[in-house]
């Protein structure tokens, strides 16, 4: 089912992972590995468990009372659900960009430095702001108004700010949960270009229900259906020569 993965090679690796909301099993027996400095897209119809899986990787599901896990998730070889895992530290190393842009009600500058500051960075904040905004492709648009409220930016700019905010913490992995679903096509194109830039330095896992997007930006693609990992492999081969019938049906638009 899952094609050849060297089990020690991934920065993130799950082993027979099951995720539950109460009695309801949202992710079923998934073993998958995300490689360093690759863009992995997770696709599938809504309700297939792709977002649940993503939000488990930085333990954002901890806030849901009825959520539970069975199986293992390793980040850099260590189980992130072990009791000694510091969640704050995990989330610093595994950044996340959400479906809807969610800048804080602070200035653009403060939005960027907030993360590094709580993690103890005190020096060279100005340089950090500039470099993060540059990497996010936002610097030229906002360099003259860093002290304006971030909430006054356009939706696309806000989302790039959220990416810059994540980059500023120097994470190892960036998780993206349908980051373009609330944006217009032009802003979407900019974010996609940006992901293309970021792949040089970061491991990116992106959930999307837009198959064309997955095809455009990712190295690997995983197709989920009803909580199961149906197929996982190189994006090109998955879209051109899917091995599974369900994958083929989905990418040719027969359901979903």
């Amino acid at each position: 089912m899952v094609d050849s993965i060297d089990s020690n090679d991934g920065i993130f690796r799950t082993q027979n992972l099951n995720l539950y909301y109460g009695e309801n099993r949202a992710v079923k027996d998934v073993s998958i590995s995300f490689k360093k400095k690759e863009v992995t897209a997770i696709i599938g119809p809504s309700g297939c468990g792709k977002s649940t899986l993503l939000r488990t990787l930085n333990r954002m599901n901890d806030f849901i009372d009825i959520f539970s896990t069975k199986g293992e998730i390793f980040f850099q070889g260590e189980d992130i659900y072990r009791s000694s895992q510091d969640v704050a530290d995990l989330r610093k190393r595994v950044g996340m960009v959400f479906q809807r842009p969610n800048p804080f009600l602070k200035s653009i500058y403060k939005n960027i430095v907030w993360g590094p500051q709580i993690h103890g960075t005190k020096k060279d904040l100005d340089e950090l702001v500039e470099s993060s905004l540059r990497k996010a492709g936002l610097w030229d648009e906002v360099k003259d108004r860093l002290n304006d409220l971030a909430t006054n930016l356009s939706g696309g700019q806000q989302q790039r700010l959220c990416i810059a905010r994540t980059i500023a913490m120097k994470p190892e992995v960036i998780l993206m949960d349908e980051p373009c679903s609330a944006l217009d096509p032009r802003s979407t194109a900019r974010i996609e270009d940006l992901i293309g830039e970021l792949r040089k330095d970061y491991t990116i896992v992106i959930v999307t229900h837009n198959m064309q997007q997955a095809a455009r930006i990712s190295d690997k693609t995983a197709f989920f259906y009803e909580g199961e990992l149906v197929e996982f492999g190189d994006t090109k081969s998955l879209f051109t020569k899917p091995k599974e019938k369900r994958t083929e049906d989905y990418i040719t638009g027969r359901f979903g």
Partner: protein, 316 residues
């Protein structure tokens, strides 16, 4: 069978004709209903104007006998003793002492309670704590007065042996307990009405709850939190029975919480407990003091609601 259906159809049609014939009459009835309901709504406006008119009228009558300057800036309040003096400042200072004391109790405690409920308490704990806070909010103020006199004051006496039987501290504490549920529930509303994604954004960057609360939730919800404080303070200003029963009836300008004081509200009660005839200057003092009280609370409520609305603008 078909025949039967036809019969029903026919009778239905007749009915609807009947209805149509009546329709002019019904329209008349509709506007009658609207008119009488409008009258009900008008009563609230009449109430407001009556309050303003009556407080205004009696206060003006009062100012015919006592110069307005003496009232507003006088530092001695002895309207029931000869020679009379009508400086309202001691009553205002007494009220402020209670406001300051109760705010020191209720603002930090109320805010922390709302944070506990919003961030740390599980659903089961919330299901216990929230109704209890509602009960605390619903207990009549006369019961709090009893509590202050029979429990809080004796306990304070053990800590401060020099404390008077009636004292501002006991009054402040009990008024603080009374307004705490209001603050905690308004602050809880303020923070839980923020978009969930804001909180998630903070946690996703590896922040602890403490950091998320103090540098994201509280600053973002600040206008509404401030509104909660203002509205609660306005309630403390108007609080009557607990202060009457616990804080005493000694109008004086002091910052000492261990002494007996008098608030604006407890002065009005003190006069009402005696048998003051309508029309006398003592009767009018109540309305003059009431007018000060009314203006203060009204202004605070209006400011409070302004803050509340500003919040809604900022969160789209």
């Amino acid at each position: 069978m078909f025949h039967f259906l036809k019969l029903i159809m026919r009778s239905l049609l007749k009915r609807s004709n009947l209805f149509k014939a009546n329709s002019i009459k019904k329209d008349w009835f509709d506007s009658f209903v609207k008119g009488s309901l409008g009258l009900c709504a008008l009563i609230s406006i009449i109430t407001t104007f009556s309050i303003i008119f009556i407080l205004g009228k009696e206060t003006l009558l009062f100012f015919e006998q006592v110069p307005i300057g003496d009232f507003l800036f006088g530092t001695k309040w002895e309207p029931l003793l000869e020679p009379q003096s009508f400086g309202v400042l001691p009553l205002i200072s007494g009220t402020f002492l209670i406001v300051i004391g109760s705010s020191l109790v209720a603002i930090p405690a109320g805010l922390l309670t709302s944070i506990y409920l919003g961030e740390y308490a599980g659903p089961r704990t919330k299901a216990i704590v929230k109704p209890i806070l509602e009960i605390l909010a619903g207990i009549p103020t006369v019961v709090y007065g009893y509590f202050a006199l029979t429990v809080i004051t004796p306990m304070l006496k053990m800590i401060f042996p020099s404390i008077e039987v009636f004292n501002a501290l006991s009054g402040s504490i009990v008024v603080g307990i009374m307004i705490l549920p209001m603050i905690s529930s308004l602050c809880d509303d303020a923070m839980s009405s923020l978009p969930r994604s804001l909180k998630e954004g903070g946690y996703a960057m590896g922040a602890t709850s403490f950091e998320v609360v103090w540098s994201i939730l509280v600053p973002t919800a600040l206008p509404r939190i401030v509104a909660a404080f203002i509205l609660a303070i306005s309630r403390a200003i108007g609080e009557t029975m607990a202060v009457v029963m616990a804080a005493g009836a000694t109008p004086k300008m002091t910052m000492n919480f261990l002494e007996s004081i008098q608030t604006m509200t407890s002065y009005i009660v003190q006069v009402s407990l005696g048998d003051t005839p309508a029309g006398g200057v003592e009767y009018q003092t109540c309305f003059a003091v009431g007018a000060v009280l009314f203006v203060m609370t009204l202004v605070m409520n209006i400011i409070g609601r302004k803050f509340y609305k500003r919040f809604n603008l900022e969160i789209e």
